[in-house]
């Protein structure tokens, strides 16, 4: 028995009919074609499916689509502004924070949720904020550096 849900995805209203066991991750990837959100484990262990729901970073594999009813969802596809990379995306590109790229969308959204709440985080606060996003390629060093640079860049924009 399908349920009709209404939510906002990347600033666009979405209406969908979903089975009760359909996850938000499946809705995004399979029904809406937003494959930038990655499926790494399906158990909430790896963080590759991280999206931002009502301002909070969540593992979309652990959220049922019906639970997203009435919510506002931001995926990686909604971050760049008319083709211009968001400062966090730009910092990831510039600092070598991306290798295979599979953790990148989730990692960037965890970083965004952090910087939205805490624009000037310490290194330890950054490491804590992304500790639910596993990366096997980079050793995290350049990711931490990218988030630091993005923080400065966003901070600088707001001051000026």
């Amino acid at each position: 028995m399908k349920t009709i849900i209404n939510l906002i995805v990347n600033d666009q209203p979405v209406e969908a009919a979903v089975e009760p066991n359909r996850t938000l991750l499946q809705l995004l990837r399979e029904d809406l074609g937003l494959t930038g959100t990655k499926h790494g484990c399906g158990l909430g262990d790896c963080g590759a499916c991280t999206i931002i729901m009502d301002g909070q970073p969540v593992n979309s594999c652990l959220v049922l689509a019906v639970q997203a009813n009435g919510r506002e969802v931001l995926t990686i596809e909604g971050l760049a502004d008319n083709g211009k990379l968001h400062p966090i995306q730009q910092a990831f590109v510039d600092n070598g924070a991306i290798q295979c790229g599979f953790c990148t969308p989730g990692m960037i959204l965890s970083a965004k949720a952090l910087l939205d709440e805490n624009p000037r985080p310490t290194e330890n606060e950054i490491r804590t904020a992304i500790s639910g996003n596993l990366c096997r390629c980079t050793g995290y060093q350049k990711i931490v550096e990218a988030v630091q640079e993005a923080a400065k860049s966003i901070d600088g924009t707001e001051v000026s």
Partner: protein, 786 residues
């Protein structure tokens, strides 16, 4: 002015924006209208005879389109090395581990396919199983493959000079044993693929692989179709680290099901299935002795290895050779003896993982050096400096160190970590340790015996002369190979990086053995350079005719052309280019002829301009059995120093700092080099401190998830200081060599040596969990009190 304008910089990787925006497509992101979904039935028992398989109920389930078992797929044996083809796609007589594939189903959606696998009825006669490699070697142990008595999958015996004699003449011989645990590569992207057969019987397989070329060959063999009818296309890949270096049952099942149904079939492993497929780091038991003179001069090494191979060979033959051959350097030795045994057990097969075959024996050996140095009262850094090889040295087992910045690496980490003020001066519970290592820059020989080129590359110029497209079968898996070949092409052509496009990972484009053994910078790099040189030469010839000058007087750099270093009189060429492209918004400007104008001229003279390049290593290595494994045109090397804190009451370990130096030859891209170094440290740290695939008493994996199988998080990694050492490798393109795997070699022993420095406890079994260290500390205390 720097010698180079594109390479040796920190150019951002080409695929960065696609990956940062979610536009990059990975295998599981692909879909084709009307495609079916596949699922695999895997054995629930570790060892058993298959008495009967009944697929009738599965076939009757609405939505199921095909079921394939050994009966339909046949019994073609395959594997990695033709010397040990010991797998069939589906088990037919026996299952040999929990997870062994029995059948696959294609259905209209993943849930139906999965449900159908549960309707396939398999009758087993359960057989006694063996899970421990030492048990498997004992007489009377359950036999896993009839053809391999004693479960002995492969045995290696090598000796270089008289080891016993050399040992007898030593002042001191120190022994050590070491045991690691089976690791999982834990790439974040599970394997996924999409197989499509066209009406002409031609297969296209989109798949998450490190080696499109080998997958193509295995598929052709197992599906009994010509190699020319198989095209393997690698989309973006979410990490590989070794286990994606061979054709998988997933890929072959998808191909069979696509052929049977006439529809595209997509299949993706669950995370649990990634663990079951495994093909990751073996468990190794190392037993070794080092003989030295009083002054610390190393003389001889005796090395024995036992490897738990799991149920099939995979890369295992190479692995068991590497455990021996990779102790040949980076220290001078007079004699070396190696005995290696790879044993079958009823567990998933192990294969290649970052630092293939070398990591665990390197860990044991670098601990042994510290043990020896302590007995001799020599500083660990000094004993290594005393014994290291130099460029031009050849190991006892005939590996040629054509460049080797080992000394520079050791000095860089010694000075970069302030070793001299820390070693022996830290309080109890704090420690510092070091280790070294080296690794191949590409295997000297292909996996199958062949005279094939290891890499070929095609570069094609656009008709306007403005864009060079590099076509290569090489595999970008995150390490940055696309960016490296683009940089080498741009540098060689004398154009800027944004004028190069790379199309890669497709077996229709060129031959490339793929992303394993840290080979692509050197080998694909060579082929790219040669292809670009061909184009550059052709353009220079055309220009020389047109301008009436010698080709040797023409140079290309940053997209402009110089004649004897000057602009030359090129006005006629420019006005004709502009005339040809009337109305274009980007006419060539500036005081110099542009590469674009020159390349257009070459096109007008001879049609579409294509350059081709190729590379295979010269004949390498000695003449003894197994001499091929360990050979390479070049070797990277590294040194690391790790600082740790240990809670002496609980055994809790904190890695405070890591200082890492790696000689990668000329660094084509400095950011990417550091990325490989830092990623290697992270994987080594995980294996050292917490990674272990665990099994229950019936051979089922207890922790097949990224929650219970713990890999390092951002909180486990310390701040890392990465120092790039750049020797110029004579056999590498522009002097470049490897970084992807050599950088992991010293990590585990550097941590273990630091833990010993901090606690006085010598740990010889991984992972060093707090519990293991706590027990070792307790044991030390008890012994001191006796």
């Amino acid at each position: 002015m720097s010698e180079f304008s594109v390479i040796n910089t920190r150019a951002p990787r080409l695929d960065g924006p696609a990956k940062a925006t979610g536009k990059a497509k990975y295998a599981d992101d692909l879909s084709i209208p009307g495609m079916l979904h596949g699922a695999i039935l895997q054995s629930p028992i570790a060892h058993g005879r298959i008495l009967h398989i009944d697929t009738s109920r599965a076939l009757k389930l609405p939505g199921v389109k095909a079921v394939v078992t050994a009966k339909e797929a046949g019994l073609i044996k395959y594997g990695v090395s033709p010397a040990r083809y010991d797998e069939t796609l589906y088990a037919h007589d026996k299952v040999r581990y929990v997870g062994d594939e029995i059948a696959a189903v294609a259905a209209v959606d993943p849930a139906t396919a999965q449900e159908a696998t549960g309707l396939i009825k398999v009758d087993y006669e359960e057989l006694p199983a063996v899970f421990d490699m030492f048990e498997a070697m004992k007489e009377g142990a359950p036999l896993i493959h009839d053809e391999f008595p004693g479960n002995m999958n492969a045995e290696v015996h090598q000796e270089f000079s008289d080891t016993d004699g050399a040992m007898a003449a030593c002042d001191l011989v120190v022994d050590h044993t070491f045991l690691n645990k089976r690791q999982d590569a834990a790439f974040i992207e599970p394997h996924s693929c999409l197989a499509v057969f066209d009406s002409d019987g031609r297969l296209t397989l989109h798949t998450s692989t490190q080696v499109p070329h080998y997958v193509m060959r295995t598929l052709a063999m197992v599906l009994r179709i010509p190699v020319g009818n198989v095209r393997v296309v690698k989309p973006y890949v979410g990490g590989g680290f070794g286990p994606k270096c061979e054709a998988t049952p997933l890929e072959m099942s998808a191909a069979f099901l696509a052929r049977m149904t006439g529809k595209p079939v997509k299949m993706t492993y669950s995370r649990e299935q990634v663990f079951l497929h495994s093909r990751a780091r073996h468990q190794f038991y190392a037993e070794m002795s080092l003989g030295v003179m009083k002054d610390g001069t190393m003389v001889a090494v005796r090395n024995k290895a036992i490897l738990d191979g799991g149920a099939y060979t995979s890369f295992g033959i190479a692995t068991v050779y590497y455990s021996g051959s990779l102790l040949g350097g980076p220290y001078n030795l007079k004699a070396m003896k190696y005995d290696g045994y790879r044993v079958y057990t009823n567990k998933p097969a192990c294969g290649a993982q970052r630092g293939h075959g070398g990591v665990v024996h390197r860990a044991a050996f670098e601990q042994l050096i510290d043990l020896t140095a302590e007995k001799l009262g020599i500083d660990p850094v000094e004993i290594r400096l005393k014994n290291i090889m130099q460029a031009g040295d050849i190991t006892v087992n005939d590996l040629n160190m054509s460049s080797l910045g080992m000394k520079e690496c050791i000095e860089a980490v010694r000075d970069g970590s302030d070793w001299k003020n820390k070693k022996g001066k830290l309080p109890k519970g704090k420690g510092i340790g070091m280790a070294c290592g080296f690794f191949v820059s590409g295997a000297g020989y292909p996996i199958y015996r062949s005279d094939t080129y290891h890499s070929t590359v095609v570069i094609k110029m656009s008709e306007d002369g403005g864009t060079a497209t590099v076509l290569t079968g090489s595999a970008e898996i995150g390490q940055g190979s696309d960016t490296i070949v683009a940089m080498i092409a741009a540098e060689t052509l004398g154009i800027t990086l944004d004028n190069v496009r790379v199309v890669s990972g497709d077996t229709d484009l060129s031959v490339d053995l793929g992303a394993y053994s840290s080979r692509q910078t050197l080998m694909t790099g060579h082929a790219t350079k040669e292809a670009a040189e061909q184009i550059r030469t052709r353009i220079a010839e055309v220009l020389s005719e047109e301008m009436g000058c010698e080709p040797s007087s023409i140079t290309f750099r940053d997209g402009i052309v110089m004649f004897d270093g000057k602009p030359g009189n090129f006005e006629k060429l420019r006005s004709s280019y502009i005339k040809e492209h009337r109305g274009w918004t980007d006419p060539p400007t500036g005081d110099y002829l542009t590469f674009r104008e020159a390349a257009r001229l070459a096109y007008l003279k001879g049609g579409t301009m294509v350059g081709t390049g190729k590379y295979k290593p010269p004949k390498l290595g000695g003449a003894y059995k197994g001499a091929a494994v360990g050979t390479s045109p070049a070797y990277g090397c590294s040194a690391q120093i790790v600082e740790v804190s240990v809670d002496m009451d609980t055994g809790e370990i904190t890695i405070d700092k890591m200082t890492d130096a790696h000689d990668c030859g000329l660094a084509i891209n400095r950011t990417l080099v550091e990325g490989q170094m830092q990623g290697s440290l992270s994987m080594g740290l995980g294996e050292c401190l917490f990674e272990e695939v665990k099994f229950d008493s019936r051979g089922r994996i207890l922790n097949p998830s990224l929650g219970e199988y713990r890999i390092p998080t951002s909180l486990d990694m310390p701040s890392v200081k990465s120092i790039i050492v750049e020797s110029r490798e004579p056999n590498g393109p522009y002097g470049a060599k490897e970084v992807g795997e050599g950088a992991i070699m010293p990590t585990i022993p550097a941590i273990l040596n630091a833990l010993y420095d901090a606690t006085g406890a010598r740990i010889n079994e991984l992972p060093v969990t707090s519990e293991r260290l706590y027990l070792a500390l307790q044991k030390n205390k008890t012994e001191q009190n006796l």
